[in-house]
């Protein structure tokens, strides 16, 4: 009986991990429309709004008084999966997602500044139709991790600025998946025998599982440095620490009627007449049983990342920027998830790779009123070939940005950006492996993925 819950645990744990990666892969680096328009390049030259709290905490100096910046990025992702065997194509059904950002900064003098920012570095979801075979790995998943970051910047030398932020991360997650009776252990059968070996077809959904958890918190730090040897060249770097979030939530189960009536004298009920499969399943939902509603918990580590960059000003109006970003995704090599009705937590290997990204941007201040920006970025995939799933149909990506900044008044400015995410097609799987299965053998189709992002930020400097 325990196998039932272990299978659920595995699938849910995987879902959490994958969603967090999705956030990174979908470019939730977009926490300010100005720097977004430069393809996220700006660690060496943050924009003159308050988004430096995120892009480089050292970048708040050289300002006096208040700066308020708020905005959002709207993410419209689209994609599909084409099954190798049937040729059936399932399309992602994501609605556009809005990701907010808010920053407040105050410059005390030329040397000291402080601020606080709120941004959502991990916060995308995936929604697949219930007709998609991958629904057993997750069909409707959301993960949001809000970072609140009080920040202090100081300029100890005219050419050097330092910044420090304390990150308080608050996470919540909702994962929905269908369960496949095919995977389930058969009561009374020899160990290791699953219902599929008795002929139950794969994709026989018999249960809807929903995991919700909120209020997970963690603490991290964010440090940055800026070095400006000349007026034309600046160098910058920042490092944000990893943050581990402990999620406590509830797993809820709802029976899905299969309508299957097992023929008489079948191996699940030898010597008996026709047996409704749903009656067997109902018995598994009794209190204390594997599919009774029950508490569940897990921990997820948001990876640390390091960014270094350079900014060059060939002319006072033109800035060229280049950033290199490294994200320590290997901290998420294994996920453990516990259910109350299972004694041993389930551990699932993820084997993610660290990722590298290059961001190149250009910022042209055409007039005192108008600025134009553009950029291109590329980054490597975090997931290895064996963990390309409905929850993270990820691959190497190239992205392009275009943006405009306009100063409406002396105090009020706006930035508007469009970003296109182009992902390479990649083979992947639709389900989680059973014990003894090599996950890479389960890759049974091709994921295609892309996205449109629209960013807006408004800044007020009273």
């Amino acid at each position: 009986m325990r196998r039932y819950l272990v299978a659920v645990a595995g699938a849910l744990a995987y879902g959490i991990a994958a969603s967090s990666l999705t956030a990174q892969g979908f470019g939730l680096y977009e926490h300010g429309s100005c720097v977004m328009a430069r393809a996220g390049a700006g660690v060496a030259a943050p924009c003159d709004d308050a988004s430096g709290i995120f892009i480089n905490p050292a970048g708040l100096t050289d300002r006096r008084g208040w700066t308020f910046t708020a905005g959002a990025t709207i993410i419209s992702a689209f994609g599909d999966f084409t099954n190798d065997t049937t040729g059936v194509q399932s399309e992602l059904g994501n609605d556009p997602i809005t990701v907010p950002h808010v920053y407040i900064a105050y410059g005390f003098d030329d040397r000291w500044a402080a601020g606080v920012g709120l941004f959502v570095p991990y916060g995308l979801g995936t929604r697949w139709p219930l007709s998609f075979e991958g629904r057993f790995a997750g069909y409707d998943n959301d993960l949001r991790t809000v970072y609140v970051q009080p920040t202090l910047s100081v300029k100890p030398h005219p050419m050097v600025a330092l910044g420090f932020g304390l990150d308080v991360a608050i996470g919540e997650v909702e994962l929905n998946q269908r369960l496949d009776f095919f995977d389930q252990a058969v009561p009374g059968a020899p160990p290791g025998v699953i219902a599929g070996q008795l002929g139950i077809p794969r994709n026989t959904e018999f249960m809807d599982a929903r995991l919700t958890a909120s209020g997970a918190t963690g603490i991290g730090a964010h440090v940055g440095v800026l070095f400006e040897p000349t007026e034309q060249i600046s160098l910058g770097a920042r490092y944000i620490t990893r943050i581990t979030l402990d999620y406590d939530g509830e797993a809820q189960f709802r029976q899905i009627e299969t309508g299957l009536i097992l023929p008489a004298d079948n191996p699940l009920a030898p010597g008996m007449g026709p047996v409704p499969l749903d009656a067997i399943v109902l018995g598994l939902m009794a209190p204390g049983g594997p599919f009774a509603n029950q508490p569940a918990s897990t921990s997820i580590t948001m990876p640390d990342q390091f960014v270094a960059g350079i900014a060059i000003k060939p002319t006072p109006e033109l800035t060229l920027l280049a950033d290199w970003q490294w994200v320590h995704w290997t901290v998420l090599d294994t996920i453990a998830l516990s259910f109350d009705n299972v004694a041993t937590p389930t551990s699932l290997p993820q084997n993610y790779h660290n990722t590298n990204g290059i961001r190149l941007g250009v910022d042209w201040r055409a007039t005192d009123r108008w600025s134009f920006r553009g950029g291109v970025l590329t980054h490597t995939e975090a997931s290895p070939a064996e963990t390309v799933t409905p929850l993270l149909p990820e691959s190497d990506r190239n992205e392009f940005t275009l943006g405009v900044g306009v100063r409406f008044t002396r105090q009020f400015a706006g930035n508007f950006t469009y970003q296109f995410v182009a992902q390479n097609d990649r083979r992947g799987r639709m389900r989680n492996p059973l014990p003894g299965e090599d996950p890479i053998d389960l890759n049974a189709g091709v994921y295609e993925f892309a996205g449109h992002l629209f960013g807006i930020s408004l800044t007020w400097k009273p």
């Binding site: 008795l198 002929g199 077809p201 309508g259 009536i261 060939p314 250009v362 992902q423 091709v446």
Partner: protein, 418 residues
Amino acid sequence: MRTRVGRRGASLALLTAIALLTACESAPLIPPLGRPIPSGGALFQRYLAMGNSITAGFQSLGINDSTQLESYAVLLAQQFGLTVGLDFNVPLMNQPGCPPPLVNIFTQTRLAGGGTADCALRKRPISPVIHNVSVPGAAVIDVLSHFDPASSPNPLTTLLLGGQSQLEAAAAAQPTFVTLWVGFNDVLGALTTALTAPELAGDPSFITDPADFATRFSSVMAGLDAMPSIQGGALIGAVQVVAAPFVSTGLAYFVAAQSIPTLTVLANCLDTAPIPGGGPNDTAVVFVPFPFGAAKLDSAVAGVPVTLDCSVPEVITVAESINMILAVAQYNGVMALEAAARGWVFVDPNDLLGPFIGDPAFIRPFPAFPPDPAAETEPFGSLLSRDGFHPSGLAHRFVADALITAINAAYGTSVPNL
């Protein structure tokens, strides 16, 4: 001045890098990596086989992954350019089988010493999509539903397809090309009852009424018509079950009695009658099922005087054999019409196997009995497995080749023969 030049150089490098990255992105993305078009052509991209024990690969009253992979359906798929386990998935059974096949019909020994109730279950990994959805024991009604009062599900019905009907499993595979071989089991029960209730041999209640068969078969075809992915198909007619060496003619026993003094075969074993609607040489005869006849022969060879009286219920009379022959002929007429209506291929296996009937090398007129070594290896001939009515691997090759020839002729394809 040097500083200014350096700055320009760095700026140029950055701009060049941006341009290069942009150019790189303008190249097409990696194309989809789905399964390639098979060598036989796009028509066969998702080939699906439906049917009964023959198509499932049942041999010698058993089934395992070895016998399954000898099925003509697997051979066809391979000739189409498909790969078993990748784009042609068979619900393989673990060794020794479910049940293990007979290795000796006379001793009733099965593979690995197994019994009739033994089942080694499905072999893993199990594909989500099955391309050979055939189920041993399936009559035409079983292709439609397992739960019709006329259906006859068995443990293999569950093991291979769970609660699905063949049509449901077929729809999941989104087939582009289908072969369907049913009809055998709509008559065979009248023969195989000799294994369990010998006195009912030839009983017409085991035979599906041809009108019912026509209705049910039309429903099956309507179900296939509702699958828009299907671009073509082939129907294989029912085999005349009385041609299976599981039964031998009364004449064959009469001839055998010439060399066995203790065996007496009565004249009623030589009864004949013309087959209504048949040609001048189409004659129905008396058939003696193997279990009944073998027991008689065994006693006679042991020196016990035995008389074979073909008026007993264990023997299939001329009238009963005519009933079976006409039923199969009508089934095949229905199937030929359904195939023609869709431009599908129709292959009559009786035309294919007819030349081999009575040839001891292929389909023996009389089983090989011990101590003949063939009694263990090929008691009914090389085209039959050890149960006398399921085809051997060699017969599957013949069927596959005949189908390939017919399919190429009908669809203009160039699928290589075996």
